[in-house]
């Protein structure tokens, strides 16, 4: 039996370049940012981030809309093309206040996404909570993939 000095392979060793590494991390984070964010920074218009998920029965569209009033959100569906649009107002403008940092983006937004198959438009449900819009779109019965039993003779 021997005694070997145990060195945890996962433990990060401190190096004098740590601050540089964290800077590199920040730069990477900047470039890893999603496309919506990048286009927002380039073009000035607000492009809210969205997710589209599907399971066997429905699609779920999730859109980040912080600070948007429920009545300012418009949803429309035409030929499987779902459009979320509206405007975000800056309700905080005050005459006596001096803004010393303005990072948030306001104004009109519009996002369009095409759904791969038809949905049952009468059963679409939208919910807005904590600045996140969730739209549930059940797939149309006739468009759902069906399983066909194969009888092997």
């Amino acid at each position: 039996m021997r005694i070997i000095h145990y060195r945890n392979p996962y433990l990060r060793r401190r190096s004098p370049f740590d601050p540089l590494n964290s800077l590199r991390g920040e730069m990477n984070r900047l470039f890893e940012n999603n496309l919506g964010q990048v286009s927002q920074d380039l073009f000035g218009a607000w492009t809210p981030a969205l997710d589209l998920v599907q399971d066997d029965n429905e699609f779920q569209l999730i859109v980040e809309l912080p600070g948007v009033k429920k009545e300012d959100i418009d949803l429309s569906l035409l030929d499987n093309i779902l459009t979320v649009s509206g405007k975000r107002e800056n309700g905080t403008e005050r005459k006596e206040a001096e803004p010393n940092r303005n990072e948030r983006v306001f104004g009109k937004f519009r996002r369009t996404i095409q759904l791969p198959i038809a949905v049952d438009t009468s059963k679409v449900v939208a919910q807005y909570q904590d600045g996140v819009l969730t739209v549930t779109l059940p797939k149309a019965e006739e468009a759902k993939p069906k399983k066909i039993a194969v009888n092997v003779q």
Binding site: D51, Q54, P66, P116, G131
Partner: protein, 123 residues
């Protein structure tokens, strides 16, 4: 055996969580400062605000998405939010107010009475 468990613990403690920096607007008035932060997906119980010396640390934890299925398109990051602000010593840290509405956190930082401008009249 004991060594493997120690290794696991060590990795857990050295792992650094990744945070997103939420966008912020800061407005300053003569007797208050307001900070507005976009925190979509965070509910009231997910907000953690700590004040230590002149540092105000904000952490916003997202609600867990109860989404099952296949992602056809994904842009929303899953990271929690964190941002640290250095406050002016003029801020009365005991009277800071926070309010979360529609995914936007509003912090009201009042300026202490003791540092406000007072005019003294000469009798």
């Amino acid at each position: 055996m004991s060594q493997t468990s120690a290794t696991n613990n060590d990795t857990a403690s050295t792992e650094r969580p990744t945070y997103l920096t939420p966008r912020a607007d800061i407005l300053g008035g003569s007797d208050w400062t307001e900070v507005h932060l976009d925190l979509p997906g965070v509910a009231t119980d997910g907000v953690e605000i700590t004040v230590e010396n002149q540092l105000l640390t904000l952490i916003g934890r997202r609600k867990v998405f109860d989404v099952s299925g296949e992602y056809l398109h994904q842009e929303i990051p899953r990271h929690d939010y964190r941002r640290v602000f250095e406050m002016s010593p003029k801020i009365d840290t005991n009277r800071i107010q926070a309010e979360l509405r529609e995914g936007v956190l509003l912090l009201r930082l009042p300026i202490a009475e003791s540092v406000k401008l007072r005019r003294i009249t000469v009798d």
